[in-house]
């Protein structure tokens, strides 16, 4: 099985170690991983800002990059959602290619469970209490809900219930900079309701930047870790 990893712009810069863990995880699962060098950004920041022409240009860049990959795997529900849900509408004159790419594109945990059929990775998370934050786009655009949680649990972790686990963290890309006060209050709602855990994890670096940045401002000691790294730890090698 061959798959291309799309590290995403945020992943490449801020969650590089998690992207590397995603490579390790995929290789461990028997996947021949490629990282096409022309990958940059899926275009979501422009798309969400209302700048379709720019989003389309980045979408084409991405489409060309991953044209020949069997699967495209992203350590991000948000960018995977962009490709799966919005590319076909953006690229009318390449509709078939866009639809084809959309169908081959997966968020990491989604790929592990749905495509590779993995249930158990190992037992490296035994005794860990983990809170899982549902990234809005993983949850609502991709329907990624039980996939990461079952993987975490099967690695021995206790995934504790969290009242606000499905609520938005307030990141929203440019939203967090355009309306920083409301955005921070949204993060506070998450942090205020957070149960006592060893760490918080999520599919998306954007959410983690937001939650950890706000948590740090409040001097919280809890860690925020990317799902790819947590699952790699779960393998327990």
């Amino acid at each position: 099985m061959k798959a291309a990893l799309f590290a995403t712009c945020l992943g490449d810069q801020f969650y590089a170690d998690a992207c590397a863990d995603a490579v390790r995880l995929l290789r461990y699962a028997g996947v021949d991983v490629d990282v096409p060098q022309s990958q940059t950004c899926c275009g979501q920041p422009a798309y969400n800002a209302g700048r379709k022409p720019e989003a389309i240009r980045m979408a084409y860049q991405t489409l060309d990059t991953f044209d020949s990959a069997d699967y495209v795997v992203l350590p991000s529900g948000s960018c995977a959602g962009m490709i799966r849900c919005f590319y076909p509408d953006l690229m009318n004159n390449e509709l078939e290619r866009a639809q084809d790419l959309a169908a081959r594109t997966y968020e990491l945990s989604h790929f592990l469970v749905e495509v590779l059929g993995i249930r158990d990775l190992g037992s490296g998370l035994k005794g860990k209490r983990i809170a899982y934050h549902h990234s809005c786009h993983a949850l609502r655009e991709l329907g990624v809900c039980d996939h990461p949680i079952s993987l975490l649990k099967n690695c021995g972790a206790e995934v504790v219930s969290w009242e606000a686990d499905e609520e938005c963290c307030g990141f929203g890309g440019l939203f967090s900079a355009k309306l920083p006060e409301v955005s921070a209050a949204m993060a506070d709602r998450k942090l205020d309701t957070l149960p006592g855990v060893d760490f918080v994890t999520s599919t998306d670096g954007g959410c983690l930047l937001q939650l950890s940045g706000r948590g740090d401002r409040h001097r919280l000691s809890v860690q925020f870790r990317h799902l790819a790294s947590v699952l790699w730890e779960g393998v327990g090698l």
Partner: protein, 464 residues
């Protein structure tokens, strides 16, 4: 206090969070209850099927609006009601004024109506010397305080029990520890006198049935029933988008709207108003006036995408689930309709220039779509208005230049990587304040920490 327009949204939302933390607490707690009740109520029915049906009926009605409105007018006239058409808020106020003058009206009771808030009915009537009393408990509270509503269904949602206890203590001398039931009883007693004295009752209309000319109203407190049946004149203000084709449709909509709004199978009171008191009727108004209001609705209808927002039944579910709305309640949005629905109808009804920055007052989390009883594609429409805002040059020049430069780089992977490498050498916590976008980010949070080596670099060097 009255609304000053959406343009101060950022300042007002920040102010609310900083200066009035009790607002956030009250709104969060009340919407938690709304959400739990709605979720439970949806789970008792095949809500997907109901919502598909509701979407289709509303879309059909809106696509044939002219025909159904004419049918409704004919039926209303046949029922003995008087029908007026108001293109603008100004027209509606003028019509109201005529009715008030013709009937020598000095006191009015009002049933809860967001349209009346949109039109500024209370201020206008007071200017005319008419004593106006809101009779919905939440509306009554905020009228006493002097505030506009901050939620479509729960206008006083931003107020805590303590706020109300203090208010009633000041106004009526009630004990400061009176519970909700005692406070409601106090209000009820005060309102009874007002109902009996009023010459005019003003209501909105949840639905207007084309087939029968029926104005349908859902409520819980009985104040709408009283407002529309006790005074000698009843005026129903109805937005033209409230039309449904058949009486039978109302049966579905009253249930779905109740479930979406408050989680009830049906509101406690449900009124179907056919016209004035007929011979032999014991009660009811001598005259019923229905004012059909456009005020920007046809402008919204003309938009090839955003017209879908006119399906809205004003249940407030999108507000309750919206994590943005929940931090501040409705006041910072600066006009009558707040939350996700407000953000998508404001640009159509007021014009995009007037509505800024509301299309951006969303993280696009998509939680609202799953709750909307008439399946309005809210995030899609937010994006639609953002595109219009960009086209009209209403967003910042720095953002525009930034995204253009970013796009150019993204099309050239080598440049993109070089730029990324440079970014990693800027100490973001210290240097962030000087950078656009990041300066706003670090106001509220610690700066993001760049990885020591980018992933692409790690890949090049080999990942073990």
């Amino acid at each position: 206090m009255s609304f000053s327009g959406p343009k101060h949204y950022r300042v007002e939302s920040a102010k609310s969070l900083k200066d009035r933390p009790s607002v956030r607490a009250s709104v969060t707690s009340a919407t938690d209850t709304f959400n739990a009740n709605r979720s439970d109520a949806y789970s008792q029915i095949d809500s997907d099927l109901w919502r598909d049906w509701a979407r289709d009926v509303k879309s059909h009605a809106l696509t044939n609006l002219d025909q159904y409105l004419e049918q409704a007018e004919t039926q209303l006239l046949a029922n003995g009601a008087k029908v007026h058409w108001a293109d603008t808020a100004h027209d509606a106020l003028r019509l109201l004024e005529e009715i008030v003058r013709d009937h020598g009206i000095s006191t009015a009771v009002k049933a809860k109506s967001m349209l009346s808030e949109e039109l500024g009915i209370n201020e206008h009537l007071e200017d005319l010397g008419v004593h106006v009393r809101e009779t919905d408990l939440g509306e009554y509270i905020i009228q006493l305080i002097g505030e506009p509503p901050s939620h479509i269904v729960g206008p006083a949602i931003h107020r805590s029990l303590e706020d109300c206890q203090r208010l009633f203590h000041e106004k009526f001398g009630t004990p400061l520890d009176d519970g909700p039931d005692a406070l409601a009883a106090t209000a009820r007693e005060a309102l009874r006198e007002e109902f009996l004295a009023a010459d005019l009752g003003i209501s909105g209309g949840n639905f207007l049935v084309a087939e029968t000319g029926t104005v349908a109203l859902i409520e819980n407190e009985g104040n709408i029933r009283l407002s529309t049946s006790l005074p000698r004149v009843h005026i129903a203000l109805v937005g033209i988008e409230k039309i449904v084709p058949r009486l039978e449709d109302v049966s579905g909509f009253v249930q779905l709207t109740s479930r979406a709004a408050t989680g009830q199978p049906i509101g406690n009171f449900f009124s179907l108003i056919q016209g004035p008191k007929r011979d032999g009727d014991i009660d009811g108004p001598e005259e019923v006036h229905v004012i059909l209001v456009d005020n920007g609705r046809t402008r919204l209808l003309a938009d090839d995408k955003a017209w879908e927002a006119l399906r809205c039944v004003r249940c407030g579910a999108c507000l309750n689930i919206c994590p943005v709305y929940r931090q501040t309640g409705g006041h910072p949005y600066g006009w009558t309709y707040s939350g996700p629905i407000g953000a998508i109808i404001a640009p159509g009804m007021l014009g995009i220039e007037e509505a800024m920055p509301l299309p951006y007052a969303s993280s696009l989390c998509g939680a609202c779509v799953d709750e909307c009883p008439v399946r309005i594609p809210i995030p899609e429409l937010l994006l639609h208005w953002r595109e219009k805002a960009v086209e009209k040059g209403l967003t910042s020049a720095i953002e525009s230049a930034g995204i253009k430069a970013y796009t150019k780089a993204a099309e050239r992977p080598a440049i993109f990587r070089a730029a990324g490498a440079m970014l990693r050498h800027i100490p973001l916590e210290a240097g962030g304040r000087a950078l656009p976008i990041l300066s706003d980010w670090v106001k509220e949070r610690s700066a993001p920490k760049s990885s020591k080596k980018s992933f692409m670099q790690q890949w090049k060097e080999g990942i073990e």
